[in-house]
Protein backbone atom coordinates (compact mmCIF):
# COMPACT_ATOMS: atom_id res chain seq x y z
CA UNK A 1 0.00 0.00 0.00
CA UNK A 2 2.72 2.44 1.02
CA UNK A 3 4.69 1.47 -2.05
CA UNK A 4 1.67 2.27 -4.20
CA UNK A 5 1.26 5.67 -2.54
CA UNK A 6 4.94 6.39 -3.02
CA UNK A 7 4.63 5.37 -6.68
CA UNK A 8 1.62 7.66 -7.18
CA UNK A 9 3.43 10.55 -5.52
CA UNK A 10 6.54 9.92 -7.58
CA UNK A 11 4.59 9.80 -10.84
CA UNK A 12 2.46 12.73 -9.69
CA UNK A 13 5.48 14.85 -9.01
CA UNK A 14 6.57 14.23 -12.60
CA UNK A 15 3.25 15.15 -14.21
CA UNK A 16 1.76 17.64 -11.76
CA UNK A 17 2.75 21.14 -10.81
CA UNK A 18 0.99 23.44 -8.43
CA UNK A 19 0.51 27.15 -8.43
CA UNK A 20 -1.06 29.48 -5.92
CA UNK A 21 -1.76 33.16 -6.13
CA UNK A 22 -2.96 36.01 -3.98
CA UNK A 23 -3.68 39.60 -4.76
CA UNK A 24 -5.61 42.70 -3.96
CA UNK A 25 -8.02 44.51 -6.23
CA UNK A 26 -10.23 47.51 -6.50
CA UNK A 27 -13.61 47.74 -8.18
CA UNK A 28 -15.57 50.93 -8.75
CA UNK A 29 -18.84 50.95 -10.65
CA UNK A 30 -20.18 54.51 -10.50
CA UNK A 31 -23.44 54.67 -8.60
CA UNK A 32 -23.36 50.96 -7.83
CA UNK A 33 -20.47 49.93 -5.59
CA UNK A 34 -16.89 50.71 -4.62
CA UNK A 35 -14.88 48.05 -2.88
CA UNK A 36 -11.45 46.62 -2.26
CA UNK A 37 -10.92 42.95 -2.94
CA UNK A 38 -8.62 40.24 -1.69
CA UNK A 39 -8.21 37.32 -4.07
CA UNK A 40 -6.72 33.94 -3.19
CA UNK A 41 -6.49 30.98 -5.53
CA UNK A 42 -4.73 27.68 -6.07
CA UNK A 43 -4.46 25.32 -8.98
CA UNK A 44 -2.96 22.04 -10.12
CA UNK A 45 -1.60 21.62 -13.65
CA UNK A 46 -0.61 18.48 -15.47
CA UNK A 47 2.15 18.28 -18.02
CA UNK A 48 -0.37 17.07 -20.62
CA UNK A 49 -2.41 20.26 -20.40
CA UNK A 50 -5.20 19.69 -17.92
CA UNK A 51 -5.70 21.91 -14.92
CA UNK A 52 -8.09 22.50 -12.09
CA UNK A 53 -8.29 25.45 -9.72
CA UNK A 54 -10.29 27.13 -7.02
CA UNK A 55 -10.47 30.72 -5.90
CA UNK A 56 -12.19 32.96 -3.40
CA UNK A 57 -12.51 36.74 -3.18
CA UNK A 58 -13.28 38.83 -0.10
CA UNK A 59 -14.40 42.43 -0.24
CA UNK A 60 -14.16 45.50 1.98
CA UNK A 61 -16.06 48.72 1.44
CA UNK A 62 -19.44 48.25 -0.18
CA UNK A 63 -20.83 44.74 0.22
CA UNK A 64 -18.21 43.55 2.73
CA UNK A 65 -17.46 39.89 3.24
CA UNK A 66 -17.36 37.14 0.69
CA UNK A 67 -17.48 38.56 -2.84
CA UNK A 68 -17.35 35.22 -4.62
CA UNK A 69 -15.80 31.82 -4.94
CA UNK A 70 -15.53 29.23 -7.64
CA UNK A 71 -14.06 26.14 -9.18
CA UNK A 72 -12.71 25.86 -12.69
CA UNK A 73 -10.92 23.47 -14.97
CA UNK A 74 -9.33 23.40 -18.41
CA UNK A 75 -8.17 20.68 -20.76
CA UNK A 76 -5.90 20.99 -23.78
CA UNK A 77 -7.47 19.36 -26.82
CA UNK A 78 -5.23 20.31 -29.74
CA UNK A 79 -1.70 21.43 -28.80
CA UNK A 80 -0.62 23.04 -32.12
CA UNK A 81 -3.23 25.81 -31.80
CA UNK A 82 -3.66 25.44 -28.03
CA UNK A 83 -7.31 24.54 -28.45
CA UNK A 84 -8.71 24.25 -24.93
CA UNK A 85 -12.02 23.59 -23.30
CA UNK A 86 -12.64 25.53 -20.10
CA UNK A 87 -15.46 25.09 -17.60
CA UNK A 88 -16.27 26.75 -14.32
CA UNK A 89 -18.80 27.07 -11.56
CA UNK A 90 -19.00 30.30 -9.61
CA UNK A 91 -20.93 32.03 -6.87
CA UNK A 92 -20.86 35.80 -6.40
CA UNK A 93 -22.62 37.72 -3.68
CA UNK A 94 -23.35 41.24 -2.58
CA UNK A 95 -23.96 41.11 1.13
CA UNK A 96 -25.52 44.56 1.66
CA UNK A 97 -28.05 44.03 -1.09
CA UNK A 98 -28.75 40.45 0.03
CA UNK A 99 -28.26 39.38 -3.55
CA UNK A 100 -26.12 36.78 -5.22
CA UNK A 101 -25.55 34.96 -8.44
CA UNK A 102 -24.65 31.39 -9.33
CA UNK A 103 -23.18 30.68 -12.72
CA UNK A 104 -21.86 27.77 -14.70
CA UNK A 105 -19.78 28.48 -17.77
CA UNK A 106 -18.04 26.73 -20.62
CA UNK A 107 -15.65 28.18 -23.18
CA UNK A 108 -13.58 27.03 -26.10
CA UNK A 109 -10.30 28.88 -26.53
CA UNK A 110 -7.57 28.71 -29.12
CA UNK A 111 -4.39 30.51 -30.11
CA UNK A 112 -4.25 30.53 -33.91
CA UNK A 113 -1.27 32.90 -33.70
CA UNK A 114 1.38 32.84 -31.00
CA UNK A 115 0.31 36.19 -29.59
CA UNK A 116 -3.42 35.88 -30.19
CA UNK A 117 -5.85 34.12 -27.90
CA UNK A 118 -9.49 33.76 -28.92
CA UNK A 119 -12.38 32.27 -27.03
CA UNK A 120 -16.12 31.90 -27.19
CA UNK A 121 -18.59 30.24 -24.88
CA UNK A 122 -21.66 30.63 -22.77
CA UNK A 123 -22.69 30.90 -19.15
CA UNK A 124 -25.95 30.22 -17.37
CA UNK A 125 -26.46 32.87 -14.71
CA UNK A 126 -28.92 32.47 -11.90
CA UNK A 127 -29.51 35.50 -9.67
CA UNK A 128 -30.39 34.69 -6.08
CA UNK A 129 -32.53 37.60 -5.02
CA UNK A 130 -34.62 36.46 -2.10
CA UNK A 131 -33.19 37.78 1.16
CA UNK A 132 -33.25 34.40 2.89
CA UNK A 133 -31.50 32.44 0.20
CA UNK A 134 -28.74 34.51 -1.34
CA UNK A 135 -26.02 32.35 0.15
CA UNK A 136 -27.15 29.24 -1.65
CA UNK A 137 -24.50 28.10 -4.11
CA UNK A 138 -26.61 25.23 -5.38
CA UNK A 139 -29.53 27.00 -6.99
CA UNK A 140 -29.66 26.75 -10.76
CA UNK A 141 -33.16 27.98 -11.52
CA UNK A 142 -34.83 31.18 -10.47
CA UNK A 143 -36.33 34.46 -11.58
CA UNK A 144 -34.23 36.55 -13.96
CA UNK A 145 -32.03 33.61 -14.95
CA UNK A 146 -30.34 34.08 -18.30
CA UNK A 147 -27.80 32.85 -20.78
CA UNK A 148 -24.71 34.97 -21.22
CA UNK A 149 -22.44 34.83 -24.26
CA UNK A 150 -18.78 34.75 -23.31
CA UNK A 151 -15.91 35.88 -25.47
CA UNK A 152 -12.20 36.60 -25.27
CA UNK A 153 -9.95 38.39 -27.73
CA UNK A 154 -6.47 38.85 -26.32
CA UNK A 155 -3.31 40.08 -27.96
CA UNK A 156 0.06 39.70 -26.27
CA UNK A 157 2.45 42.55 -27.04
CA UNK A 158 5.14 40.78 -25.06
CA UNK A 159 5.02 37.09 -24.22
CA UNK A 160 8.25 35.88 -22.65
CA UNK A 161 8.74 33.50 -19.72
CA UNK A 162 9.96 36.29 -17.46
CA UNK A 163 7.62 39.08 -18.45
CA UNK A 164 4.59 39.74 -20.61
CA UNK A 165 1.99 42.33 -21.48
CA UNK A 166 -1.36 41.77 -23.17
CA UNK A 167 -4.49 43.73 -24.06
CA UNK A 168 -7.89 42.08 -24.07
CA UNK A 169 -11.52 42.49 -24.88
CA UNK A 170 -13.30 39.81 -22.89
CA UNK A 171 -16.22 39.21 -20.57
CA UNK A 172 -15.20 35.85 -19.14
CA UNK A 173 -13.81 36.93 -15.77
CA UNK A 174 -15.52 34.50 -13.43
CA UNK A 175 -15.24 36.85 -10.47
CA UNK A 176 -16.59 39.81 -12.38
CA UNK A 177 -18.70 38.37 -15.17
CA UNK A 178 -20.00 40.90 -17.65
CA UNK A 179 -23.01 40.78 -19.91
CA UNK A 180 -22.78 40.99 -23.67
CA UNK A 181 -23.78 44.64 -23.43
CA UNK A 182 -20.81 45.80 -21.37
CA UNK A 183 -17.85 45.37 -23.74
CA UNK A 184 -15.08 44.95 -21.13
CA UNK A 185 -11.50 45.72 -22.10
CA UNK A 186 -8.17 46.05 -20.33
CA UNK A 187 -4.47 45.44 -20.00
CA UNK A 188 -2.64 42.80 -18.03
CA UNK A 189 0.98 41.98 -17.40
CA UNK A 190 3.34 39.76 -15.45
CA UNK A 191 6.95 39.95 -14.32
CA UNK A 192 9.08 37.21 -12.84
CA UNK A 193 10.52 38.65 -9.65
CA UNK A 194 12.20 35.50 -8.29
CA UNK A 195 12.45 31.90 -9.44
CA UNK A 196 8.88 30.58 -9.42
CA UNK A 197 7.45 33.92 -8.30
CA UNK A 198 5.61 36.29 -10.59
CA UNK A 199 4.12 39.70 -10.03
CA UNK A 200 0.82 40.14 -11.89
CA UNK A 201 -1.06 43.36 -12.59
CA UNK A 202 -4.23 44.15 -14.49
CA UNK A 203 -6.53 47.05 -15.12
CA UNK A 204 -9.82 47.05 -16.97
CA UNK A 205 -13.02 48.85 -17.62
CA UNK A 206 -16.19 48.43 -19.63
CA UNK A 207 -18.82 50.46 -21.39
CA UNK A 208 -22.51 50.83 -20.60
CA UNK A 209 -25.27 52.00 -22.89
CA UNK A 210 -24.28 50.14 -26.04
CA UNK A 211 -27.86 49.28 -26.99
CA UNK A 212 -28.85 52.94 -26.85
CA UNK A 213 -25.67 54.34 -28.45
CA UNK A 214 -25.19 56.47 -25.33
CA UNK A 215 -21.82 55.31 -24.14
CA UNK A 216 -20.56 55.67 -20.57
CA UNK A 217 -17.60 54.16 -18.77
CA UNK A 218 -19.21 51.40 -16.75
CA UNK A 219 -16.60 50.58 -14.14
CA UNK A 220 -12.93 50.46 -13.24
CA UNK A 221 -11.19 47.32 -12.04
CA UNK A 222 -7.59 47.06 -10.93
CA UNK A 223 -5.72 44.09 -9.57
CA UNK A 224 -2.17 43.40 -8.40
CA UNK A 225 -0.92 40.15 -6.97
CA UNK A 226 1.71 37.47 -6.90
CA UNK A 227 1.68 33.88 -7.99
CA UNK A 228 4.12 31.16 -7.14
CA UNK A 229 4.58 27.58 -8.22
CA UNK A 230 6.64 25.16 -10.18
Amino acid sequence: MSAAILLILAVGSQVLRFQSEAGIGFRHEPGVETKALLHVGAGAFTTFGASIGANIALSAGDNPGIAGYGLGGEILLLPPVRLRLRAGVNHNQWSSWRAGENSVSMMTLAAPLRRLDLGVGAAWRVPVLDPAGYRSPLRWQGPASEWNLLYRLQWAFIARPAHGLAAWIANDDRQNPATAQQFPFGLGGYLQVRPQWWLKVGIGSNIKGLSGATFSLGEVNARVGVSCGK
Binding site: P30, P131, K208
Partner: protein
Protein backbone atom coordinates in the same frame (compact mmCIF):
# COMPACT_ATOMS: atom_id res chain seq x y z
CA UNK B 1 -28.46 58.61 -46.55
CA UNK B 2 -27.49 61.11 -43.88
CA UNK B 3 -27.54 60.59 -40.14
CA UNK B 4 -30.15 62.72 -38.44
CA UNK B 5 -28.49 62.40 -35.05
CA UNK B 6 -25.79 64.55 -33.55
CA UNK B 7 -23.38 61.64 -33.10
CA UNK B 8 -21.23 63.64 -30.69
CA UNK B 9 -24.03 63.10 -28.18
CA UNK B 10 -23.22 59.40 -28.14
CA UNK B 11 -20.31 60.33 -25.87
CA UNK B 12 -20.43 64.04 -25.07
CA UNK B 13 -23.84 64.77 -23.59
CA UNK B 14 -25.21 65.75 -20.20
CA UNK B 15 -24.53 62.72 -18.01
CA UNK B 16 -26.98 61.28 -15.53
CA UNK B 17 -25.05 63.19 -12.84
CA UNK B 18 -25.58 66.43 -14.78
CA UNK B 19 -29.26 65.70 -15.27
CA UNK B 20 -29.72 64.83 -11.60
CA UNK B 21 -28.08 68.13 -10.67
CA UNK B 22 -30.65 69.90 -12.84
CA UNK B 23 -33.43 67.78 -11.37
CA UNK B 24 -32.42 68.79 -7.86
CA UNK B 25 -31.78 72.45 -8.68
CA UNK B 26 -35.32 73.46 -7.79
CA UNK B 27 -35.59 75.30 -11.09
CA UNK B 28 -37.62 72.64 -12.89
CA UNK B 29 -41.36 72.40 -12.31
CA UNK B 30 -42.19 68.96 -10.92
CA UNK B 31 -45.28 67.44 -12.55
CA UNK B 32 -48.29 67.47 -10.26
CA UNK B 33 -50.45 64.48 -9.46
CA UNK B 34 -53.64 63.95 -11.46
CA UNK B 35 -57.01 64.42 -9.82
CA UNK B 36 -58.88 61.14 -9.85
CA UNK B 37 -61.67 59.35 -8.02
CA UNK B 38 -59.66 57.81 -5.14
CA UNK B 39 -61.81 54.67 -5.15
CA UNK B 40 -61.62 53.95 -8.85
CA UNK B 41 -59.19 55.16 -11.46
CA UNK B 42 -57.27 53.94 -14.48
CA UNK B 43 -53.94 54.79 -15.99
CA UNK B 44 -51.82 53.56 -18.88
CA UNK B 45 -48.09 53.14 -19.37
CA UNK B 46 -46.13 52.45 -22.53
CA UNK B 47 -42.75 53.21 -24.05
CA UNK B 48 -41.26 54.17 -27.35
CA UNK B 49 -43.91 55.97 -29.41
CA UNK B 50 -40.86 57.12 -31.46
CA UNK B 51 -42.63 59.61 -33.63
CA UNK B 52 -40.94 59.99 -37.00
CA UNK B 53 -41.77 61.51 -40.32
CA UNK B 54 -42.12 58.38 -42.44
CA UNK B 55 -44.19 56.19 -40.13
CA UNK B 56 -47.73 56.55 -38.87
CA UNK B 57 -47.89 57.03 -35.12
CA UNK B 58 -50.13 54.82 -33.02
CA UNK B 59 -50.92 57.71 -30.70
CA UNK B 60 -54.14 58.42 -32.56
CA UNK B 61 -55.32 54.89 -31.74
CA UNK B 62 -54.24 55.45 -28.15
CA UNK B 63 -56.24 58.69 -28.00
CA UNK B 64 -59.36 56.69 -28.80
CA UNK B 65 -58.43 54.13 -26.14
CA UNK B 66 -58.15 56.87 -23.51
CA UNK B 67 -61.62 58.07 -24.34
CA UNK B 68 -63.16 54.60 -24.74
CA UNK B 69 -61.71 53.09 -21.57
CA UNK B 70 -61.92 56.26 -19.50
CA UNK B 71 -58.24 56.35 -18.71
CA UNK B 72 -57.53 59.11 -16.19
CA UNK B 73 -53.86 59.70 -17.06
CA UNK B 74 -50.93 58.00 -18.76
CA UNK B 75 -47.16 57.77 -18.73
CA UNK B 76 -44.71 57.50 -21.62
CA UNK B 77 -41.45 55.71 -20.86
CA UNK B 78 -38.97 57.38 -23.17
CA UNK B 79 -38.05 57.49 -26.85
CA UNK B 80 -40.83 59.94 -27.54
CA UNK B 81 -39.42 60.64 -30.98
CA UNK B 82 -37.11 58.76 -33.31
CA UNK B 83 -34.60 61.51 -33.98
CA UNK B 84 -35.53 64.34 -31.57
CA UNK B 85 -35.98 66.69 -34.54
CA UNK B 86 -38.13 69.82 -34.14
CA UNK B 87 -40.96 68.54 -36.34
CA UNK B 88 -41.03 65.24 -34.44
CA UNK B 89 -41.07 67.06 -31.12
CA UNK B 90 -44.02 69.17 -32.21
CA UNK B 91 -45.83 66.07 -33.45
CA UNK B 92 -45.32 64.09 -30.25
CA UNK B 93 -46.44 66.99 -28.07
CA UNK B 94 -49.60 67.26 -30.13
CA UNK B 95 -50.12 63.50 -29.98
CA UNK B 96 -49.68 63.33 -26.21
CA UNK B 97 -51.94 66.31 -25.58
CA UNK B 98 -54.71 65.03 -27.86
CA UNK B 99 -56.34 62.63 -25.36
CA UNK B 100 -56.94 65.61 -23.07
CA UNK B 101 -55.83 63.91 -19.82
CA UNK B 102 -52.68 64.46 -17.76
CA UNK B 103 -49.60 62.65 -18.99
CA UNK B 104 -46.12 62.05 -17.60
CA UNK B 105 -42.85 61.33 -19.36
CA UNK B 106 -39.43 59.98 -18.67
CA UNK B 107 -36.57 60.28 -21.17
CA UNK B 108 -35.13 57.55 -23.39
CA UNK B 109 -31.87 57.40 -25.29
CA UNK B 110 -33.46 58.96 -28.38
CA UNK B 111 -34.20 62.13 -26.39
CA UNK B 112 -30.43 62.61 -26.07
CA UNK B 113 -29.55 62.32 -29.76
CA UNK B 114 -29.50 66.07 -30.39
CA UNK B 115 -27.23 68.63 -28.76
CA UNK B 116 -30.25 70.41 -27.27
CA UNK B 117 -31.94 67.13 -26.30
CA UNK B 118 -31.76 67.48 -22.54
CA UNK B 119 -32.44 71.22 -22.70
CA UNK B 120 -35.62 70.57 -24.69
CA UNK B 121 -36.71 67.74 -22.43
CA UNK B 122 -36.29 69.55 -19.13
CA UNK B 123 -37.87 72.80 -20.31
CA UNK B 124 -40.79 70.88 -21.82
CA UNK B 125 -41.47 68.17 -19.22
CA UNK B 126 -39.48 69.17 -16.13
CA UNK B 127 -37.20 66.82 -14.20
CA UNK B 128 -36.25 63.48 -15.68
CA UNK B 129 -36.95 61.61 -12.44
CA UNK B 130 -39.78 62.40 -10.07
CA UNK B 131 -42.60 60.77 -8.16
CA UNK B 132 -46.32 61.38 -8.21
CA UNK B 133 -48.77 60.21 -5.58
CA UNK B 134 -52.17 59.34 -7.00
CA UNK B 135 -55.03 59.81 -4.53
CA UNK B 136 -52.94 58.41 -1.69
CA UNK B 137 -53.30 54.98 -3.30
CA UNK B 138 -50.59 54.56 -5.91
CA UNK B 139 -47.13 56.06 -6.08
CA UNK B 140 -45.52 56.26 -9.50
CA UNK B 141 -41.76 56.75 -9.53
CA UNK B 142 -40.35 57.81 -12.89
CA UNK B 143 -36.64 57.07 -13.28
CA UNK B 144 -34.16 58.45 -15.78
CA UNK B 145 -32.34 55.55 -17.46
CA UNK B 146 -31.94 57.37 -20.77
CA UNK B 147 -28.31 56.34 -21.12
CA UNK B 148 -28.63 52.90 -19.65
CA UNK B 149 -27.60 53.48 -16.04
CA UNK B 150 -28.95 55.06 -12.85
CA UNK B 151 -25.97 56.75 -11.24
CA UNK B 152 -25.17 57.45 -7.61
CA UNK B 153 -27.48 60.42 -7.03
CA UNK B 154 -30.47 58.74 -8.61
CA UNK B 155 -29.95 55.54 -6.63
CA UNK B 156 -29.93 57.61 -3.44
CA UNK B 157 -33.03 59.52 -4.54
CA UNK B 158 -34.80 56.30 -5.48
CA UNK B 159 -34.16 54.72 -2.11
CA UNK B 160 -35.44 57.81 -0.30
CA UNK B 161 -38.60 57.75 -2.43
CA UNK B 162 -39.11 54.03 -1.86
CA UNK B 163 -38.70 54.47 1.88
CA UNK B 164 -41.34 57.21 1.99
CA UNK B 165 -45.10 56.66 1.51
CA UNK B 166 -44.91 52.99 2.45
CA UNK B 167 -48.70 52.66 2.56
CA UNK B 168 -49.12 53.10 -1.19
CA UNK B 169 -48.79 50.63 -4.03
CA UNK B 170 -45.53 51.61 -5.78
CA UNK B 171 -44.77 51.37 -9.47
CA UNK B 172 -41.39 52.26 -10.99
CA UNK B 173 -41.54 53.41 -14.60
CA UNK B 174 -38.51 54.05 -16.77
CA UNK B 175 -36.94 53.46 -20.17
CA UNK B 176 -34.51 50.55 -19.69
CA UNK B 177 -35.77 47.17 -18.49
CA UNK B 178 -33.90 45.18 -15.88
CA UNK B 179 -34.56 41.83 -17.46
CA UNK B 180 -35.57 40.70 -20.90
CA UNK B 181 -35.87 36.95 -20.91
CA UNK B 182 -33.24 34.24 -20.76
CA UNK B 183 -31.54 35.03 -24.07
CA UNK B 184 -28.47 37.26 -23.99
CA UNK B 185 -29.74 40.38 -25.74
CA UNK B 186 -28.55 43.90 -25.11
CA UNK B 187 -31.64 46.04 -24.58
CA UNK B 188 -31.60 46.26 -20.79
CA UNK B 189 -29.53 47.72 -17.99
CA UNK B 190 -26.05 46.46 -18.66
CA UNK B 191 -24.28 45.69 -15.43
CA UNK B 192 -25.29 42.63 -13.38
CA UNK B 193 -24.30 44.35 -10.13
CA UNK B 194 -26.38 47.42 -11.01
CA UNK B 195 -29.36 45.23 -11.86
CA UNK B 196 -29.05 43.23 -8.65
CA UNK B 197 -28.75 46.41 -6.60
CA UNK B 198 -31.89 47.77 -8.22
CA UNK B 199 -33.78 44.49 -7.85
CA UNK B 200 -32.72 44.28 -4.22
CA UNK B 201 -34.14 47.78 -3.57
CA UNK B 202 -37.38 46.99 -5.38
CA UNK B 203 -37.75 43.74 -3.44
CA UNK B 204 -36.92 45.30 -0.09
CA UNK B 205 -39.53 48.03 -0.51
CA UNK B 206 -42.10 45.66 -2.00
CA UNK B 207 -42.52 47.51 -5.26
CA UNK B 208 -45.56 46.25 -7.17
CA UNK B 209 -44.34 46.71 -10.74
CA UNK B 210 -41.41 47.87 -12.84
CA UNK B 211 -42.46 49.02 -16.31
CA UNK B 212 -40.04 49.82 -19.14
CA UNK B 213 -39.66 50.08 -22.90
CA UNK B 214 -36.42 50.46 -24.90
CA UNK B 215 -36.75 47.18 -26.77
CA UNK B 216 -39.87 47.10 -28.94
CA UNK B 217 -41.56 44.19 -27.30
CA UNK B 218 -44.16 42.98 -24.90
CA UNK B 219 -42.96 40.76 -22.08
CA UNK B 220 -44.16 40.03 -18.58
CA UNK B 221 -41.81 38.45 -16.04
CA UNK B 222 -42.32 37.74 -12.39
CA UNK B 223 -39.04 38.48 -10.56
CA UNK B 224 -39.57 37.40 -6.98
CA UNK B 225 -42.48 39.56 -5.80
CA UNK B 226 -42.00 42.11 -8.58
CA UNK B 227 -44.07 42.35 -11.75
CA UNK B 228 -41.63 43.29 -14.50
CA UNK B 229 -43.06 44.57 -17.80
CA UNK B 230 -41.66 45.57 -21.15
CA UNK B 231 -44.37 47.41 -23.06
CA UNK B 232 -43.80 49.43 -26.23
CA UNK B 233 -46.03 51.20 -28.70
CA UNK B 234 -43.69 51.99 -31.59
CA UNK B 235 -44.88 53.05 -35.02
CA UNK B 236 -43.17 50.21 -36.86
CA UNK B 237 -42.59 46.51 -36.29
CA UNK B 238 -41.93 44.85 -32.97
CA UNK B 239 -38.89 42.86 -31.90
CA UNK B 240 -41.32 40.42 -30.27
CA UNK B 241 -44.87 40.42 -28.95
CA UNK B 242 -47.55 42.83 -29.99
CA UNK B 243 -47.54 46.60 -29.58
CA UNK B 244 -49.83 48.09 -27.02
CA UNK B 245 -50.02 49.67 -23.61
CA UNK B 246 -50.26 48.50 -20.04
CA UNK B 247 -53.54 49.41 -18.38
CA UNK B 248 -53.68 49.63 -14.59
CA UNK B 249 -57.02 49.77 -12.81
CA UNK B 250 -57.44 50.73 -9.16
CA UNK B 251 -60.71 49.40 -7.76
CA UNK B 252 -61.85 47.72 -4.55
CA UNK B 253 -58.63 48.78 -2.83
CA UNK B 254 -56.38 46.83 -5.16
CA UNK B 255 -54.48 47.35 -8.39
CA UNK B 256 -55.00 45.14 -11.44
CA UNK B 257 -53.17 45.20 -14.77
CA UNK B 258 -53.79 44.08 -18.31
CA UNK B 259 -51.99 44.51 -21.61
CA UNK B 260 -54.10 46.16 -24.28
CA UNK B 261 -52.85 45.24 -27.73
CA UNK B 262 -52.88 47.61 -30.67
CA UNK B 263 -55.74 47.03 -33.08
CA UNK B 264 -55.40 48.80 -36.44
Amino acid sequence: MSCKWDVGQFVFRPSIADRMADNRSGELAVPTAPEVNPDSFRFALFGDPQIEEDLDSRLDWFRQEVAGRRIDFFGVLGDLTADALPAERDAVLAGLAAPGVPYYCTPGNHELYQADGWEWYKTTFGPSCYAIRVAGRVKLIFLDTADGLLGQAQFEWLESELAADSGMVTIVATHYPIYDGALPIMWRLAGPAERYKLLSLLERYRVHSYVAGHIHGWRYSRLGNLNHFICALPPGGMDYGEPGYLLFTWAHDSLAWEQVGFTP
